[in-house]
């Protein structure tokens, strides 16, 4: 018990010292979502818009992760263990076709903590709370703005995290012509030390 108190106090002290600067990390984005509308995903009631149906990607069409960069001889895992921040993930798209709605979501605590086990998890008082992931909108779909400057928050998590799956849903209006399109999905991560 005494040992745990010492570890807690020393961690809190190091945490307080590290507030002077948030360490740099790297956002990793993998996967190229491919949305192909099947015949079964097309509206079947004449008069209704095709947005009433919509279709989804795989649950892990894209995976993202954010890991702190190594510092000299210290590997990322150690840097992440000793420096726990709150990360918010924002998403926006560019050149999504007009009259097409793109939505994104992830689930509670999806992805993997990095490192999997950390001394932070054993602290009696965890300054930012447990190293969990909280999706926006309760894990329901959030509309992704088709806007090069404005992004919307889809999740936040505590500590480094990897392989966070993101699922998408497309709601295409009948007003958008049939055919093939390419567009870009952007992810922006911000870090903070506050609750």
């Amino acid at each position: 018990m005494r040992k745990l108190c010492i570890i807690t106090v020393s961690f809190l002290l190091s945490f307080s010292c590290s507030q002077a600067q948030i360490l740099a990390g790297t956002l990793n984005v993998t996967g190229m979502p491919s949305f192909t509308q099947s015949v079964n995903a097309v509206v079947v009631e004449a008069g209704l818009d095709d947005t009433t149906v919509g279709f989804e990607s795989n649950f892990d069409a894209t995976k993202i992760g954010f890991v702190l960069n190594p510092i000299l001889l210290l590997p990322s895992s150690l840097v992440c263990e000793q420096n726990v921040y709150r990360y918010s993930v924002f998403i926006n798209s560019v050149n999504t076709p007009a009259n097409v709605t793109l939505e994104a979501k992830t689930t509670v605590n999806s992805g993997l903590r990095f490192p999997t086990v950390s001394i932070y998890d054993t602290l009696l008082i965890q300054p930012l709370g447990p190293r969990n992931l909280t999706p926006t909108n309760g894990g329901n779909y959030t509309t992704v703005p088709n806007n090069a400057t404005q992004a919307i928050k889809i999740m936040e998590f505590i500590g480094c995290r990897q392989d966070i799956p993101i699922q998408f849903r497309i709601k295409p209006s009948a007003l958008c012509p049939a055919g093939n399109y390419n567009f870009e999905i952007n992810y922006t991560v911000t870090a903070s030390l506050t609750l």
Partner: protein, 195 residues
């Protein structure tokens, strides 16, 4: 103690008001993410199906009956009543159309069997209405004498949808001249097609 409660309640209310909506981030301001955050992106592909569906509402009970009414039977007059002409204005056409490469479409009408000799069956777009739809109205306004040959009922229109049900889309008027009181052949149908 009470003061503390008031302060906490005020702070909570303030936070609720400020943080109530989903957070939006201006991703062009690098200071929003450069300290400890990051940006990444991936490309997505989208493939949409063409759509061309049409129905005659009320669906499925859209059978028109030009039956002879015993109330109008009069010796010396046509069995179908004075003038031998009967009309029906209860059918509405709904459609959903998604073009390929912005190609406009038309709505055609024809019968699946010959109209019996001595009988004239006409169709006319009586009115247009829009409840919850997005479409350009472009009907042929003059009456069309139906036959097994396809004839244009609605001229060029782009992608859109009429809204679903009675009272939206195109209201049709059917007129039948049937002086001799003949019956239409069994299985007689009026067919609408978008192309």
């Amino acid at each position: 103690m009470k003061n503390t409660h008031y302060i906490l309640a005020t702070l909570f209310t303030f936070c609720f008001l400020i943080c109530g909506g989903q957070p939006i981030l201006n991703v062009t301001i690098s200071s929003n993410f450069i300290f400890g955050g990051g940006q990444g992106s991936n490309f997505a592909t989208l493939s949409l199906q063409p759509i061309a569906i049409i129905d005659a509402e009320p669906d499925p009970s859209n059978t028109i009956n030009f039956g002879i009414s015993s109330n109008t039977l009069e010796a010396g007059l046509p069995a179908t009543g004075p003038g031998g002409i009967l009309t029906n204005e209860s059918i509405w056409l709904n459609f959903t159309y998604r073009a390929v490469n912005f190609t406009n479409a038309k709505i055609y009408v024809n019968t699946n069997q010959m109209v019996p000799a001595g009988m004239v069956l006409q169709i006319q777009v009586l009115s247009t209405a829009n409840i919850g739809g997005v479409f350009t109205s472009n009907p042929v306004l003059s009456p069309i004498t139906l036959s097994t040959n396809q004839q244009v009922l609605v001229n060029n229109f782009s992608s859109g949808y009429t809204g679903n049900g009675l009272g939206t889309g195109y209201q049709l008027k059917y007129t039948i001249e049937n002086h001799s009181g003949q019956s239409l052949p069994l299985g007689f149908e009026i067919i609408y097609e978008i192309k």
